[in-house]
Symmetry: C2
Subunit: 164 residues, 2 copies
DNA sequence: CTTTGTGCAAACCCTTTGCAAGCAG
DNA sequence: CTGCTTGCAAAGGGTTTGCACAAAG
């Protein structure tokens, strides 16, 4: 568990790297920069947490009521193609997206009672993963680690709503 | 990476514990033992690997052409309720089921090119997970670890077909 | 201008559900 | 007999796609 909060800013200021990579990708693929894309990405970055398409859609439509859900999906998929976002599916059916940080990967702890998600990072585990991959004769490209359990909160009484 | 092959048999012989628990569950819940359920569970156990509902359906219908896909889904969900099977979703939309082994949990390595899945187990990682959970103030109940990478097989050229 | 992007709605895909008929207990 | 189960088909819920119009380069 290291200092995971240092590099992240809630403002868009430190996200220049993201926009740079995105611009790069767009021009290389001869894709276009549009108002809608800009809004979706801005909000995605501003939130800076895992969101599903509909979450983001509801936020984005406040900025521009005419943006469609399909555009949000298309933009998120674009980011995924560009390697700038990761897609995961925690619960069934619905999947969530989050900014892909090449340097600073984080894993998740999900409370099986209230569904709360806490992010964490552990270098020892990451190192062991590399080792395991090597032993198996694979070249590791990425991973996903979700821990499930119960958080020790008084207000966490919503038992049974979420089964991994 | 320990001796994970020792306890598993491909025949149904060592699966008595499973049937016992299932029978228990059924009678306690006043549910019924039916021909269809028996066939679905038999094949599920015989395969002894992660399968999606349609996979299993295609196998099961060879034993009984009249079994419906819905029944397969219902049976798998029953096993999940009973705590005898785990459900995971590797790729989008489709989820896979596998026998829940309380004693012997395994994680997965998924080739991002050919989609091949290899199971592994690493006690050090598991131990660290406990530690992390404790540090976060959680009580660990389970986990899911998927490693993504490329396998070193000559016949693995199916690049781009699978993105985690 | 040419080509990509957008909105809308319909199409898709996996999974669940309603219903009448079928069986286990 | 009672009520859980099944098959079928239709409905659901999230995601994608076809199409005509809009807009970026």
């Amino acid at each position: 568990m290291s200092d995971k909060s240092k590099a992240q800013s809630t403002t868009g200021a430190t996200n220049k790297w993201f926009w740079d990579l995105l611009d790069d990708y767009l021009s290389k693929q001869a894709l276009k920069q549009t108002r809608q894309r800009k809004i979706v990405v801005e909000e995605f970055l501003r939130l800076d947490r895992h969101v599903d398409a509909e979450d983001l859609f509801n936020i984005v439509r406040k900025k521009d009521a005419k943006i469609g859900l399909a555009t949000v999906y298309r933009t998120l998929n674009l980011l995924k193609e560009a390697g700038l976002a990761d897609q995961k599916s925690f619960r069934d059916g619905r999947s969530v997206f989050e900014v892909h940080r090449p340097d600073q990967h984080h894993d998740h702890f999900i409370c099986v009672d209230c569904g709360k998600v806490v992010e964490f990072e552990n270098e020892e585990i990451e190192a062991l993963q590399e080792k395991v991959a090597e032993q198996l004769g694979f070249k590791l490209a990425g991973h996903r680690l979700d821990l499930y359990g119960r958080c020790v909160r008084r207000d966490c009484e919503v038992a049974g709503n979420y089964r991994p």
